[in-house]
Amino acid sequence: MSIANRQDQNGLTPAHDRSGRRLQVLFATGSDGQASAGEDDHRRFARLVLPHLNDAYSLARWITANRADAEDVVQDASLRAFRAIANVADGNSRAWVLTIVRNTAYTWLRKNRPSALVVVDDLEAVESAQGVTADLDHETPETALIAKADAASLEAAIAELPPAYRETLILRDVQGLGYREISQVTGVPIGTVMSRLARGRAQVMKTIGRKSS
């Protein structure tokens, strides 16, 4: 069974697959965005997308864990954003840009480094089987130990998280998105955002607490 098939049934987020496919259709129309785009599209892009380039790169870097890959993903995502720019409402452009970056990054990983995504497969089963309390019950570190952690072990602990926990934690604690925006970007209900965030935080705290004790 291929990983792609398994993800369709049991993947991280159905919404990601759906919009990923939708974007690929946009891609496949072959319309030459560069030639036909009026000045307005460029100005729109400058206003809606360019201000979020740093956030876009940061998210891509966390998902791909690689600098060059992250740059490729941002470029690819920018192209997709540009092709859709005429049809997008002004609203929350940051969440929109991050959604595209996230989907592009996972598409990229599935194509180039499927091993990075295998762990995702059983995540939902794990999520329903075990409550947050299971993560919290043992080894909850003292606050003082958390405060002592250094940058390198913090970064490593976040990088170790399952992708779904990691992206939720990054979007909230690093990029400062609200729960509703995270739900929009990752395509899962707010309740799932909340439990992933709590578990991701608990796991990182546990890891850094163990290291600095």
Binding site: Q34, S78, T143, L154, R201, I208
Partner: protein, 253 residues
Amino acid sequence: MMRAATYEDATLRVHAYVDGELDPANALGVEASMASDPALAAERERIEAFRRLVCERLPRKASPFGLRARVEAAIGMRRPRTQPSWRALAASIAVTAILASGATSMLVAPLEVNAVREGIVDAHIRSLMARQPIDVASSDRHTVKPWFNGRIPRAPRVVDLNKEDFPLVGGRIDVIGASPVPTLVYGHGKHLISLTAVPAAGSADSAPASSETGGYNILRWIEDGIAYWAISDASATELDKFADLFRTTPPDQ
């Protein structure tokens, strides 16, 4: 089993509380449960310590120099040669400055004053272009301050200047250099004033100094290790008055 589910729910609520996601009624409920359950109170402390840690220590992934140019080239975007819109120009200069400084300095390195100034102007312009110049809309400082509490290590000083005709409009998080900083937005007539608090530990207090960039008046002063930047298209006199009021009004409880 039932108890575990309830406890899990209570834990998630503590996270939501720290994140500033709860409405006042639910926030009060969580405060009550933390007061009666030491485990929940400890969880709150851990989450807050963790968030401070992430804000202060986690290296920011500043985007590499040249990425913006690469993206612009990819979509066939030309820089305007004739009659550039000054806004786009100012924004692009400021963004470039931020990208450039981000490439050489990490989170803790203090930014040069000019780089901060450009960041402040950029953030203000961007906020005026957005549909909402703020992330949290409230005239009540008791709403705005807790909103910051969940998002950055230290919430800014928030004072009520409504009676003095500078009503609080809300707040937002700006990114200056590579650090998230709190910005309060006050109104005055038809003008908006962005007041950004940038950590400046170790700097001596200084009185407001004014400057002007791209048609905006800017005031900067330092108090208790924080550099305050006020920017607005309101007149210099009105901005002076605002700074005076902000500095002398106590943030009463």
